[in-house]
Assembly symmetry: C3
Homo-oligomer: 208 residues x 3
C-alpha cells in the first residue's frame, strides 16, 4: 500500500461516517443508515467504474471497502453523542476525501483511455456523486447543485492534474499538488462564504 | 423450466402489479403506470446485471419479462376495483418475490465470481432496488430505508444461503430454506410490528 | 457526417438548453446548471449505452458532446433575457430532439442485437430518460410519468421503425418517417391537449 491507498481508506471512512450521520438524523433505521453510508462512500466510484467499464467495480474488487463502511457505521453509533458536536472536525476528513477521490478517479479513468476531458469529469463523479445519490435517496435536491463550491473544487483539481501531466511533472508531486488544490479551494470557499454566480430570480418570476 | 423459474415469474408479476397499483394511485397516466411497473419488477435485476457486467441484462436476455409486466398492468386495469380491497393477499406474493429474487440474484452473482460478501449484497439489490427506483420516481423517500424489515430479511436469507453453502448442504434444499427464511422473517416482522432500532431524535434536535 | 449526425447535434444542443433553463429557474449555481444541462442532453444515451454494454459510452466516445453542452449553457447565460420569452420556439427543437434520439437509440440498440422489443424501449430511454434524471435531480416527479404524450410518442416512432423494417422499407425513408411520426404525435397532443387515460381517483381515496 502506498500513501494514496491510505488516503483512499481515510476518505472512504470519512464519507461513510458523514452518510451515516445524515441518515441517522433523518430517523432511518440501522439498515437504512448502512445503505446511506455505503452509497455515500462507494457510490461515486461505483458509477465511475460502470461508466468506464472497469469491472469488477470498486467494492467488489476490494471488499475491504465494505468492512470500512460497516466500521464507520459502528463508530457512529458508538460515539454518536460525541461525534455530532465534533462535526467541524469532519470537514477536514470530508475535504481530504474530496481531493483524494478526485485524483484516484481521474487516474483510473486515464488508465482506461477515456481522454483528458472525460477523465476530469470522472474524477469529479468519483468524488461527488456518492453524495448526490445520498441526497436523492433522502429526497433532497443534491447539495452540490445548489450550495457549495464542492464539485467545482474537484474539477479544478482535475484540471491541475491534467495540465501538470501535459507538462510532464513528476507524478507523485502532481498527485499531492492536485489534492492540495482541491482542499485549498474548498476550505477558502467555506471560510469566506464564496459561491458560484447564479442568475437573479426576477427573470423567471416575471414569466410565470 | 424448474421451480425457481416459475417462482421468478410469479415474483416478477407480483412486483409489477404492486408497482402498477402505486403508480395508478399517484394518478400517473397508463404510460407512467407501465414504466413504474417495469422498474419495480425488473429494476433490481437490471442494476445487479450492470454492476456485475452480466450482459445481456435481465429483460433483454429474456423478453418474457416484458410481456409479464404488460400483463400485470392489464390485469390491474381490468380488475382494479377488485384488486385494491385484496391488497392483503398481495403481501404474500410480494414476500415470495422478495425471497425468490434474493436467491436468484445471489446465485447469479456467485456465477460471476464476486465473492460471498458481494453476492449477499447483490441478492438484496436484486430483491429490493426495484422498489427503491419506484420510490425515487414517485418522489418518496425509499420505504426500505425507513419503515420495514424488508431488505434486511433479504440480507438474512442471503447469509443463510452462504452459510449453508459453506457447509456443503444440498443446493435445492438450501434454495428453499433461504427463500423460506426471508418469507418467515418478513411475515413475523409485519405481524408483530417489529422494527430495526433507530437513534433517538433528541440528539439531533439538540444540535440544530 | 450525414443528416442524422447534424440532427443529433441539434437535439443535444436543444436538450442541453432546456436543462440549463430548468436549472437556472431553480436558482442552481453555474456549476449546477452545467450538470443539469449535461444529464438532460446526454443522460438518456448514457443509460442506453450502459444497459447494452456499448463502451465507450456516448460522451466518452465523442467528446464534441461536452463542448455542445458547454456552448448551450453559455448561450443560455448570454441570451437569458431573450430566450425565456421565446420558450415556445424551443418546443420545436425539443420535439425534433425527441424524434432524432428515438431513432438513433433504436438503431444503436439493433446493432447490439437486443431484439426489436428491447430496441424500441432503448429508443425511448435514449430520448426521454435524460429528462427523467433532470427531474430526479431537481426533486420533481418526472414529467413524462404524469403530464404529457412524450415518451409514448417516442415508443410509437420506434414501433413505426420496426414495422417498416420488417417490411424491408428503405432505411433512410424509414428514419425520416419515424422521426416525423414522433414529431407529429407530440405536436398534435400538445395542440389539442391530448392525454393518455388515467384511473379515476375515487377508487383509491375510498380505500384510504
Amino acid at each position: 500500500m502506498n500513501i494514496l491507498d491510505y488516503l483512499d481508506y481515510i476518505g472512504t471512512f470519512s464519507f461513510a461516517l458523514s452518510g451515516a450521520l445524515t441518515a441517522a438524523s433523518k430517523r432511518f433505521d440501522i439498515f437504512g443508515v448502512i445503505i446511506i453510508a455505503f452509497v455515500t462512500a462507494l457510490g461515486g466510484g461505483m458509477i465511475r467504474d460502470v461508466l468506464i467499464s472497469a469491472y469488477p467495480i470498486n467494492w467488489i474488487a476490494n471488499q475491504n471497502y465494505l468492512w470500512l463502511v460497516l466500521t464507520a457505521v459502528f463508530v457512529m453509533y458508538l460515539f454518536k453523542s460525541k461525534i455530532i458536536p465534533w462535526s467541524k472536525t469532519f470537514f477536514i476528513f470530508d475535504t481530504v476525501g474530496l481531493g483524494v477521490f478526485t485524483v484516484i478517479g481521474l487516474e483510473k479513468a486515464l488508465q482506461f483511455d477515456v481522454g483528458f476531458q472525460a477523465a476530469i469529469i470522472m474524477g469529479m463523479i468519483s468524488a461527488s456523486f456518492g453524495g448526490v445519490i445520498r441526497d436523492i435517496l433522502t429526497n433532497r435536491v443534491p447539495l452540490i447543485l445548489k450550495r457549495e463550491i464542492y464539485a467545482s473544487a474537484s474539477l479544478f483539481g482535475g484540471l491541475t492534474y491534467v495540465l501538470g501531466s501535459k507538462l510532464s511533472w513528476n507524478e507523485n508531486l502532481l498527485t499531492m499538488l492536485s489534492i492540495a488544490s482541491v482542499i485549498l479551494i474548498r476550505s477558502l470557499a467555506v471560510k469566506y462564504h464564496l459561491h458560484l454566480p447564479r442568475i437573479k430570480n426576477d427573470l423567471f418570476t416575471k414569466n410565470q
